[in-house]
């Protein structure tokens, strides 16, 4: 569900300055993680809203683990949303987003790329949860330290775990 946007100036503040600061600092990153998984901006923003709401309900804005929690919860929530999609809506979402890597205007290239994108999302949905989350976080631009904090693993293990996740991803994509 996406609520209609309102003029920010007309909304009475319902959240603390600390939470607003957290939201402003992390919203784009959270949407980016969800977008890597879902390839659909509207759906990614819905996931981001839900994740921030879950955090708001249960955690103080100044919690030292806030960013890590948001990153992990976003990856898991987006993967859950991905698995919940039916095949048709997944195809529609894939076709709705242009590829930056194949920014050709040739419609044949675009269709092929969209089919690839759909398969990629299907592979992500099939991978073990931690592997898929690790890929989503890494390719959304998080550092090894940020991934370690989000997934509660040692930073020195992230490289190994990431390679395993990439290997599993390649095997599934064949």
């Amino acid at each position: 569900m996406t609520l209609p946007a309102r003029d920010p100036g007309k909304v009475v503040a319902a959240v603390s300055p600390a939470f607003e600061g957290l939201f402003r600092a992390e919203y784009a990153r959270v949407v980016g993680i969800a977008h890597r998984v879902l390839a659909d901006q509207a759906e990614a923003e819905d996931v981001a809203q839900d994740v921030f709401l879950s955090f708001f309900r249960g955690h103080p804005a100044n919690a030292p683990y806030a960013r890590a929690w948001l990153h992990a919860a976003t990856a898991h929530a987006a993967l859950n949303a991905l698995r919940g999609r039916d095949r048709r809506s997944r195809r529609e979402a894939a076709q709705a987003v242009p590829l930056e890597a194949t920014a050709a205007e040739d419609p044949v290239v675009t269709v092929v790329a969209s089919e690839t994108r759909e398969e990629v999302r299907a592979v992500l949905a099939r991978l073990p949860e931690r592997s898929a989350a690790m890929l989503a976080l890494r390719y959304a631009g998080l550092s090894y330290a940020e991934i370690a904090a989000a997934l509660d693993v040692r930073a020195s293990s992230v490289g190994t775990l990431l390679r395993r996740a990439e290997d599993a991803f390649r095997r599934e994509l064949r």
């Binding site: 319902a14 603390s16 709401l53 955690h59 919690a63 030292p64 929530a77 693993v153």
Partner: protein, 339 residues
């Protein structure tokens, strides 16, 4: 496929977000749904649920160990180190009795009523990626089963808990106040127990889990799978005292209102409490009996449905456990294959 191609495969156009609009939508939703934030006191980081479970289990074992006392008075003397295990049936009646005694207090408050429990080195579980790392961090050779049933597949996850230590200081004042809050009269705390200390150690411990939940941080709406096999190995816990008359202490604790006469009698019946770890077994739900494992006497515990079983044994100063959805013979075979 190289990293660049994975990047392309997972790549999507970076979303252009309008954070102001998003924040406005969020504020509107919070107001419309009347959602209140939590208080601004930061809670500790929520770590992996299964690791939290390990920490809780380790804490329970360490605290439970402190309930078994024997030995003689002295300066700092070790009064408990398990060498054998014995099942102590805990009935629903015992649990009800404990619940009434604590009168709605949580377990920590209930235990705290007798004195002060402080972790000097708290258990801090963490995950490592291999058996060799687990051995290195625990400081002992981690054993693993060389043969498992076909239902157990994949690689295990490894959790390590550091050697933990705690001190419990008995307090007559705390005991009186707790009893007064509950409108009860506690048996008087002998003067030589008031202020005396117990030094409790547990671990290091290593847990290997097959089929462990793969998610780590809290994940909204996600169900965790049930592990297929759990193998635990730990240095045996110890309890030392700074000079308590232990028979007095044992008698005093066993007469507390939280322990039913039946349970106290079962605990008193243990032949050598200085070296026997009582393992609580839910009497209505599980069966237990001694078994021979790795050439020593251990304990098999199974639920009455036959779908879950555990084997626990102690050998060479280490405690071991194998837990999973196994029959007794399967559980013992796994235990005997540990190398």
């Amino acid at each position: 496929m190289n990293d660049t191609k994975i990047e392309q495969a997972l790549g999507t156009a970076e979303p252009r977000v309008n954070t102001d609009d998003a924040l406005a939508r969020f504020q509107a939703r919070v107001q419309a749904e009347g959602i209140a934030p939590v208080a601004s006191v930061a809670r500790p980081r929520v770590t992996s649920r299964w690791l939290q479970g390990l920490a809780a289990a380790a804490g329970v074992v360490i605290v439970a160990s402190a309930l078994t006392f024997s030995g003689v008075a002295g300066s700092i003397l070790q009064i408990f180190e398990p060498k054998t295990l014995v099942a102590v049936p805990i009935t629903q009646g015992d649990l009800n009795y404990l619940g009434q005694a604590c009168a709605g207090l949580n377990l920590q408050e209930c235990m705290g009523g007798y004195g002060t429990f402080e972790w000097t080195t708290p258990p801090q579980p963490k995950e490592v990626t291999s058996r060799s790392q687990a051995s290195a961090q625990a400081g002992f050779a981690v054993q693993a089963p060389t043969s498992v049933p076909s239902s157990v597949t994949g690689d295990p996850r490894y959790g390590v808990i550091n050697k933990s230590a705690a001190t419990f200081t008995f307090s007559a004042d705390s005991t009186k106040q707790t009893a007064a809050r509950q409108n009860r009269t506690a048996p008087p705390l002998p003067a030589n127990i008031d202020g005396s200390k117990l030094f409790i150690t547990g671990g290091p411990a290593v847990v290997q889990i097959w089929g462990a939940p793969s998610s780590t941080a809290t994940s909204p709406g996600q169900a965790n799978p049930i592990p297929t096999l759990i193998v635990g190995q730990a240095k045996a816990p110890t309890v030392s005292s700074d000079g308590i008359t232990v028979d007095e202490l044992r008698g005093y604790l066993l007469s507390q209102p939280g322990i039913s006469p039946q349970l106290a009698a079962a605990l008193r019946a243990i032949g050598d409490p200085s070296s026997t770890l009582p393992v609580p077994v839910p009497a209505e739900l599980a069966v237990s009996h001694p078994v021979t494992v790795q050439g020593v006497q251990g304990l098999f515990i199974g639920d009455n449905t036959g779908i879950a079983g555990a084997v626990i044994w102690q050998k060479d100063g280490m405690m071991f456990e194998v837990i999973g959805s196994f029959t007794e013979s399967q559980a013992i075979a796994i235990a005997n294959s540990m190398r």
